[in-house]
């Protein structure tokens, strides 16, 4: 067992366990914090997979953006006076059965698959390459995303304002 392995297990554990708590904790705020750990764990996994730029983006966008947004959402939709911001769970049984079956199929399929694997060197930095790709090959997608963000902006504003 190498250090790589250890680190992987660490991050995997963080990700999975905290994700588990995200969906099971009754307290919403706790849940949001667990989500933070999940995101961290995922970022760690990205790093392990040699995607350093993505890991950073993950941290910046998810932790810095989305999570904060979600927390705002929590705050805005619950009266602050109530310290114990809790939420119930419903449909545990069907959800558990359905998800378990689904996970079974998914897991069986994915893990049994004989993936093509080719060993490759971990590049030092992906940022440059990604940048080039974005403005060359994926320029159209990139622009499309820009418009998408614009639309999201307009939409969110339109939705949220009085």
């Amino acid at each position: 067992m190498t250090i790589y392995d250890l680190i992987f297990y660490l991050f995997a554990a963080i990700t999975v366990i905290s994700a588990f708590f995200v969906v099971t904790t009754r307290n919403i705020v706790y849940s949001a914090y667990y989500l933070l750990f999940t995101f961290f764990g995922v970022a760690g996994i990205y790093v392990l997979l040699g995607a350093d730029f993505i890991a950073v983006v993950q941290l910046v966008v998810y932790v810095g953006g989305i999570l904060i947004l979600l927390l705002f959402g929590v705050m805005l939709t619950n009266r602050i006076t109530n310290v114990q911001i809790k939420t119930g769970t419903i449909k545990i049984a069907p959800a558990a059965i359905g998800v378990a079956l689904f996970a079974g199929i998914l897991g069986a399929a994915l893990l049994k698959t004989n993936w093509k694997t080719i060993n490759s060197e971990i590049p030092i930095s992906t940022t440059h390459t990604l940048g080039l790709l974005l403005i060359q090959q994926y320029a159209v997608v990139f622009e499309l995303l820009g418009i998408l963000l614009l639309i999201a902006l307009i939409g969110a504003a339109s939705m949220a304002r009085k």
């Binding site: 399929a109 993936w115 307009i154």
Partner: protein, 503 residues
């Protein structure tokens, strides 16, 4: 390489002129909205002008057959081909009508101050749908799908006034979010197997026999979830009735036509381009046996139309009824795909044109009625034939056409579907579909019954229709009748539009 690339980008831009126009209009709309805070009257004109320009560009380059933003000589992010152009044209056409609807809609008028956002979002949808129609890369597919979704989430809850409006958008966003999530997971698996996200590349990669079929099946079906949700195919249709009922009527109409059309364009392209092995001279596709799409689509389509029709029997809300009917129609349309032949695709295209007219028309009448009586409940339709015979008759014709009775265009649409089915010797499926048509008759006729045969308990004042609305309505009505009798141009158009790049 850099210069080549840039040239290539510029060349590609020529190919996506309509999309560029639409994008420009979005910006223009936002700017105009900002500059002229008070006067919103200009916005629809800009929209229509933009759409007409876009439409012109589409028609101009209708016969183009080319990749755009190519990554290699045989693949690209986008494909510009007659098939895609057909759907783009359909989308533009539907958009023009929806813009016109929006002008007359009382619901939309009530939120006058946000008209800028409204049109911007519609154009966001248009853009997304156009990309959907020509996407050939899973990345573009996903992003464009999301673009359409995000815009429509907001539009579904646009007026924000009633409970059902907000409810619609919440349900839509949650449902859409998970569906696209599942689809994304499927895309990731395909990527894992093939190492590519481009449909053409994937196609050439999976010709090899050693591909993991089970995993591929899984991925294919997960991707279908995302597309199935867009075209509201059972069992991924659950959002449809609630959202259709909750959304403003122009948006409902729009969702039922344009976004469904885009979804179909995507689905057909996805299945055909990715899984095709060969096409025989009779026009039948021979797909890779990796996924038995034929059985799958047959099952889904039968399920869809049956569910749609049967559930529609019980509806008392006109919009909801039409929602279920549009689910059912998705089922009929899927049958065209299930044939897995060029003929089937022709049938789908014909059906779509017809369906656009009749469904938009039906929604338009429902909207006009709702404008006056403020309700879409079927019970309030009682005695409409006396208070507004024009609308009642128009609605009847649309509904009859939706049922598929001659001599309306709906019959022609169905006829071609059945021709395709029977030619492919799928008699049993055809019978099931036809029996479904009978079931559908119930609820369409129920509406007719309410309008013509029932007496209203309360006194309804005569409903007048504005001149402009009447003209628009007749403009939609005429093709429904004309195409029922003379449908050669329609078929010619569809026939010339089934060319997908490379096939």
């Amino acid at each position: 390489m850099n210069t080549n690339n840039l040239n290539y980008l510029v060349n590609s831009l020529y190919l996506i002129k309509p999309e560029l126009v639409i994008s420009a209009i979005i910006v223009l709309l936002v700017l105009v909205d900002l500059i002229m805070l008070k006067n919103k009257k200009l916005l629809p004109y800009i929209s229509i002008a933009g759409l007409l320009i876009a439409g012109y560009f589409i028609i101009e380059h209708f016969e183009t057959n080319s990749f755009a933003f190519s990554t290699s000589s045989s693949a690209g992010m986008l494909i510009v081909d007659p098939f895609g152009n057909f759907f783009k044209l359909l989308i533009v056409f539907a958009s023009i009508l929806v813009v016109l609807f929006s002008v007359t809609s009382v619901e939309i008028k009530n939120s006058l101050d946000r008209h800028g956002e409204y049109y911007a979002l519609i154009f966001g949808m248009i853009l997304g749908m156009m990309f959907m129609a020509s996407a050939s890369d899973l990345i573009v597919i996903y992003i464009s799908l999301e673009l359409v979704s995000l815009s429509s989430y907001v539009l579904a809850g646009f007026t924000k006034q009633s409970l059902r409006n907000s409810e619609a958008s919440l349900k839509y966003v949650i449902y859409g979010g998970i569906s696209s999530g599942i689809m994304l997971f499927g895309i990731s698996i395909i990527y894992g197997i093939t190492g590519s996200t481009n449909l053409y590349e994937i196609n050439s990669l999976i010709q090899a026999p050693q591909v993991q079929s089970l995993t591929f099946l899984l991925a294919g079906i997960l991707i279908f979830v995302g597309i199935g949700y867009k075209i509201s195919a059972a069992p991924f249709h659950f959002w449809t009735p609630d959202v259709y009922e909750g959304a403003p009527i122009p948006i409902t109409a729009y969702l039922s036509i344009a976004s469904k059309a885009a979804g179909f364009a995507l689905l057909i392209r996805f299945i055909k381009v990715t899984f095709i092995q060969s096409i025989d001279p009779e026009g039948f596709w021979h797909l890779l046996s990796i996924i038995d799409w034929k059985s799958f689509i047959i099952i889904i389509s039968i399920l869809t139309m049956t569910l749609g029709n049967f559930a529609a029997l019980w509806q008392s809300n006109m919009k909801r009824l039409l929602a279920y009917s549009s689910i059912a129609h998705a089922g009929y349309l899927l049958l065209g795909l299930a044939v897995m032949s060029n003929e089937g695709i022709t049938a789908i295209l014909i059906y779509f044109v017809v369906y656009a007219f009749m469904n938009l028309g039906a929604f338009f009448v429902v909207m006009l009625i709702a404008n006056k009586i403020g309700s879409e409940e079927l019970d309030d339709y009682k005695g409409l034939s006396s208070s507004t015979p024009f609308l009642a008759v128009s609605l009847s014709i649309f509904l009859i056409s939706l049922t598929g009775l001659p001599p309306t265009a709906g019959f022609i649409g169905k006829l071609y579907i059945f021709i395709a089915l029977i030619d492919a010797k799928m008699i049993v499926v055809a019978v099931i579909a036809l029996l479904n048509t009978v079931v559908s008759l119930y609820y369409y006729v129920k509406v007719l019954k309410h309008m013509f045969l029932d007496k209203s308990e309360k006194e309804i004042p005569a409903i007048s229709t504005s001149y402009a609305s009447a003209v628009l309505l007749i403009a939609i009505l005429a093709p429904v009748l004309v195409f029922g009798i003379y449908f050669t141009p329609l078929v010619d158009l569809a026939k010339s539009s089934i060319t997908l790049l490379g096939f």
